[in-house]
Symmetry: C2
Subunit: 258 residues, 2 copies
DNA sequence: ACAAAAGTGTTTAATTTACACCCATGT
DNA sequence: ACATGGGTGTAAATTAAACACTTTTGT
C-alpha cells in the first residue's frame, strides 16, 4: 500500500474544510495561501520566491471519517501553521457543483485525490493568527506558504477567491458585533495598532480620540507601564488584552438592540 | 429499476440540507416539523393527531448532484411547503460523525437511503414563513407536518434539536443587526404583532412607546388607513412593509460601529 | 360598566460626533 | 530643527430609557 493510498484511507472524499487564516503585519491584513503540491516557484523582480500564479489555494483538506468539522479545521490549521488554534470560526459551506471549474483544478485533484471526480462540499472557517508567529519562510512545515495582502490576492484555485471575500465579510460582521481581533496583534500592542487593524477590517477610518475612549471604556484592555521603543516619534503606551474581562464584557453587554 | 432506486439516483448520499422553518401565529414562534415516513400517529388527550415521539425531524433531504446548496434548500422548502422561498439563509454546517446516533435513526436511514451507513454532513438553513399561509392539516403535500412552538420542541431525529437551537441563535443574531422578520407577519400587521414577534425572537420585553418610535423612524413601515376589526378593544392601525425603503435603509445605515 | 389593548410626549441620562493643539522621540 | 505619530478635552447633537394616562372597542 503506497503512501498516497494510506493518506487517503480515512479521508472523506466528499467533504473538505478550508481555512482563511488572517494575519496582520501592522500595515496590511494578510491571508495565508499555500502553493499546491505540483506547483513551481517563480522568482519575481525582487528576487523573492513566489508561488506561481494559479497554483495558489487556501489551506484546506478533506475531513477524516471520524472527526468533527471543527476538529478537522483545527487539525488542518495545526498541520499548516503548527499553532494551536487561537480563534476558529465556521462561517459558510460552499457547494457549487462546479467548484473544480478549470483544467488545472481537475488535474491537481487527479494527482492527489482518491476520488478526483467526486463533488466536494467545503466547510469554510476563518482564523486569526499573529503574523509574526508564523513566518512561512523560516518554518519547516509549509515551506510553500506565503502571506498575501487581502487587497491584492492573486487568482486562486477552485472558488477560493470567493471564500476569501466571504471570510472577510464574516470577520467584518463579527467585528461589528463584538470587538475581536486581538489574536491578530502581538501580546503587547499600542492603540494605534489596534485602530489600524479595525480600519483595515471595516474599511473605514476611525477617529483617534473617539476610538481610544470607546475601546478603553470596555475595560478589557489593560495599560502597561511600558512603551514602544525605537520609534522615530513619541513612544506609545503598550496595552494588553485581558481575556477574562473580555468574556464578562461580552456576557454583560447583551444588548438586543432593536 | 424500482422507485427507491430512481429516487436515489441523482442524490448525493453524503450531503444534505435541513431547513428550520419558523412561523409566527401571533402567540408563539413555531417550527415546522415533519413526521418521518415510517412514523405513526398518536392521538393525545385533546384528540389532536400528533406525530409520535421520536419520529419527528426537520424538513430536509440530500442534495442533488447537480444543484447548488442554496438551490437544494429552496427545492426542499418548495417541496415541503409549496411556497417559493421568502427568506432563506444558510447558517451552519453540522457534521458530527455520529449524527445518526440511535437505533431509530439508523433504522430509518436503512429504509429510505441509498447508502444508509454513509456519514452525512448537513448544511442548515433557516427560513421565515407566514404561518397562516401554510396550514399542514389542509395541505395536500406534507400531511405529516405540524407546527411546534419553539418553547416546547419534542425530541427530534439526529441532531435536529441542536440545529433548531442554533437556528434560533442565528435568527436572533440577524435581528440584532437588522430589523427582519416581516416575512413572518401577514401583509398587513399591527405594531403590537411586530413587537410581540421581536420579543419572542429576542427573549426580552420591549417597551411599547420606545419600540414604536424607533421602528417608525426607520421609515420602511407605511401606515395604512385601515384598522383591525373584531377585536374586543380599541382597534390598532395596520401597517405594511415597504421592501424598497427597507433596502435603502439597509444600505444607508452602515454603521460599522466599533 | 368594564376589560383589554391602542395610542401618545416629556424628561433625563448616556452616547456619539466633530474638532485642534502640545508632547516625546529619532534622525 | 524637524518630522512623525502619541496623547488629551469639550461642547453640541443624537439617541436611549423610563414612565402614566386617555382612547376605543366588544362584551
Amino acid at each position: 500500500m503506497g503512501l498516497e493510498v494510506m493518506r487517503h484511507r480515512d479521508l472523506n472524499p466528499h467533504v473538505s474544510v478550508d481555512c482563511v487564516i488572517f494575519g496582520f503585519d501592522n500595515v496590511d491584513l494578510n491571508v495565508l495561501l499555500i502553493e499546491r503540491e505540483e506547483g513551481y516557484i517563480e522568482e519575481n523582480a525582487n528576487n523573492n520566491a513566489q508561488p506561481a500564479r494559479g497554483s495558489l489555494a487556501l489551506p484546506g483538506d478533506h475531513i477524516r471519517e471520524d472527526e468533527k468539522l471543527d476538529q478537522a479545521a483545527a487539525r488542518v490549521l495545526k498541520e499548516l501553521t503548527n499553532l494551536d488554534n487561537i480563534f476558529l470560526e465556521q462561517f459558510h459551506a460552499f457547494g457549487h457543483p462546479n467548484r473544480a471549474k478549470n483544467e488545472a483544478d481537475r488535474q491537481w485533484m487527479k494527482s492527489v485525490r482518491a476520488e478526483p471526480d467526486a463533488r466536494v462540499i467545503t466547510v469554510a472557517y476563518f482564523s486569526l493568527v499573529r503574523l509574526e508567529m508564523y513566518n512561512p519562510k523560516a518554518s519547516s512545515f509549509a515551506k510553500h506558504a506565503a502571506w498575501f495582502p487581502v487587497s491584492s490576492i492573486p487568482e486562486l484555485a477552485f472558488d477560493h477567491n470567493l471564500i476569501v471575500r466571504r471570510a472577510l465579510e464574516a470577520l467584518r460582521n463579527q467585528l461589528k458585533n463584538e470587538p475581536v481581533g486581538f489574536e491578530l496583534l502581538p501580546p503587547k500592542f499600542t492603540l494605534s495598532q489596534l485602530r489600524r487593524l479595525y480600519e483595515l477590517i471595516l474599511g473605514t477610518e476611525l477617529e483617534k480620540r473617539n476610538f481610544r475612549r470607546k475601546i478603553l471604556k470596555k475595560n478589557f484592555l489593560v495599560p502597561l507601564d511600558e512603551k514602544q521603543k525605537g520609534v522615530p516619534h513619541r513612544a506609545a503606551r503598550l496595552f494588553t488584552f485581558d481575556k477574562d474581562k473580555y468574556e464578562s464584557f461580552k456576557t454583560d453587554k447583551y444588548d438586543f438592540s432593536i
